[in-house]
């Protein structure tokens, strides 16, 4: 098999926690008031 040079991670649990913290921060930064009444995307968009 061809070898892999993918980066090594010392602490996988810490990587999960860091990813989650980053995603939560991104989610919290999406303003709720701007999407009042806007339906979520549920299928391919037609570009209104």
């Amino acid at each position: 098999m061809v070898a892999s040079l993918a980066p090594m991670v010392d602490d996988p649990d810490a990587s999960v926690a860091a990813e989650l913290a980053e995603l939560r921060a991104l989610a919290d930064a999406l303003p709720e008031d701007e999407v009042d009444g806007v339906p979520p995307v549920a299928g391919p968009q037609e570009w209104e």
Partner: protein
């Protein structure tokens, strides 16, 4: 004739795959038998289809009956009896499946590295990244191990490897190409599409994958088109990439297109929306086997999947609402334009062991850099294509074209015009 084309692909695979790792599974005996069947149909005066004799590579998240689907994962495999719809369409059109192409683990990556199956290596320099996750398909078509390929693109997984390997790739309008029989990454973002060494082959493959009759070859005519240059994305590109893209844009202008600046609304927010939606959906996709697989994922892949279980339904739906707003804003910004031009990758293929790249003097993680020009756009559900625009420092550069939903034919016209100026490019002999 088909047998000859298939034998050439097999010979290239035998010679190059031990170095480049484009295929995870091959079935030469079956490919030879299918090639003989196609030739027999032609010899009998029949019509074997528009792809008659085309040897193809199928990304190993797509089911091919009788071949294992591993999704590039560790100890994860299914053995389908049936072809995915896209593979059935390829075969019905006369194509011959050579094997299953390498992929980042569960298509969850952009660099082409795979610790379980081995990294896929760039044919222009095997010490460099191929890009991913459709790494094997891109490398196969760049080297003649296949004349066409099927990949998938959720965040840029067709476009980035196409750019780094110097081939044509199309992320079709979402929903145009069926995804049944394909291991999903994130269902509301996934798009199955073709990779090929030239625009005409990519266009033909797209029509077959979409289940429609082949259209006449795209004419390289751009006179009268109004094309927007995505300045915010161009500003992310390093000087060599920017130079090649500038030359291609000048060529389109010389061919009669009007070139104007285009502003993409709020790239940072677009990237955030994409990450949240993908994290929630990939977590849901993996839920049936996550606990069993948990200790087998590469740590970075596990982190991206497992984090999704910690996000709320409200966060997912809010992101999907913002996605609609971003799409509306992008559509409004495209008013009066026929297509938008952008880099596919802001950098040339990085070294295999690189964790960071330097762009315009700034250090950036490889993953973030490779995603920066593709993932913010992936939520738009519109078609995007990548066409090679030249070679800098011995490595290819790809131009990304973005159009309105259903405008693949127009994008292919622009791509054909670029190709007529540059020509298909080929990696050096290995």
């Amino acid at each position: 004739m088909t047998e000859v084309r298939v034998e050439e692909a097999i010979a290239a695979t035998e010679r190059l795959n031990p170095t480049l790792n484009a295929y995870l599974h091959v079935d030469f005996e079956r490919a030879r038998a299918e090639a003989a069947e196609v030739d027999a149909i032609e010899a009998a005066g029949g019509a074997p289809g528009p792809l008659a004799g085309m040897p193809v590579c199928v990304k190993d998240i797509v089911d091919v009956g009788g071949m294992p689907t591993t999704a590039g994962g560790a100890d994860w495999v299914r053995h389908p009896d049936e072809d995915a719809t896209v593979v059935a369409r390829l075969r019905a059109a006369g194509a011959v499946v050579v094997g299953k192409g390498n992929t980042n683990e569960f298509a969850c990556g952009i660099d082409g590295r795979n610790p379980h199956k081995g990294d896929c290596r760039n044919p222009w320099d095997p010490a460099r990244l191929s890009g991913g996750s459709s790494s094997g398909p891109a490398v196969a078509v760049a080297t003649g191990m296949a004349a066409g390929a099927v990949g998938s693109d959720t965040s840029g997984s067709i476009r980035v490897p196409a750019a780094l390997c110097g081939v044509v790739g199309i992320r079709p309008t979402r929903g145009l190409v069926p995804a049944d029989g394909v291991v999903p990454l994130a269902w509301s973002l996934d798009s199955v599409g073709p990779l090929a060494p030239d625009v005409a082959s990519a266009a033909l493959l797209l029509d077959v994958l979409a289940g429609r009759p082949p259209a006449p070859a795209a004419r390289p005519e751009v006179a009268g088109l109004r094309l927007g240059v995505a300045t915010a994305l161009m500003d992310l590109a390093d000087e060599r990439v920017a130079d090649a893209l500038g030359a291609a844009t000048d060529g389109l202008h010389d061919a009669g297109a009007e070139i104007v600046d285009h502003d993409i609304p709020d790239l940072e927010r677009a990237t955030a929306i994409h990450r949240i939606v993908q994290a929630c959906e990939v977590a849901a996709v993996h839920a049936p086997w996550f606990e069993r697989q948990r200790g087998r994922y590469a740590p970075g892949v596990r982190a991206r999947i497992e984090a999704g279980y910690g996000l709320s339904a409200e966060a997912y739906l809010r992101a999907q609402r913002h996605r609609r707003l971003f799409t509306r804003a992008f559509a409004a910004a495209m008013d009066g334009l026929d297509a938008v031009l952008a880099p596919a990758s802001p950098v040339l293929a990085p070294p295999l062991d690189a964790e960071e790249v330097t762009v315009r003097g700034e250090r950036r993680p490889v993953r973030a850099a490779l995603l920066s020009c593709v993932s913010p756009l992936s939520q738009l559900d519109c078609p995007m294509a990548v066409v090679p625009v030249g070679v800098r420092d011995g490595l290819p550069v790809g131009l990304q074209l973005i159009g309105r939903p259903g405008s693949e034919a127009l994008l292919l016209r622009v791509a054909a015009a670029v190709e007529s100026n540059v020509g298909p490019i080929r990696p050096p002999a290995l």
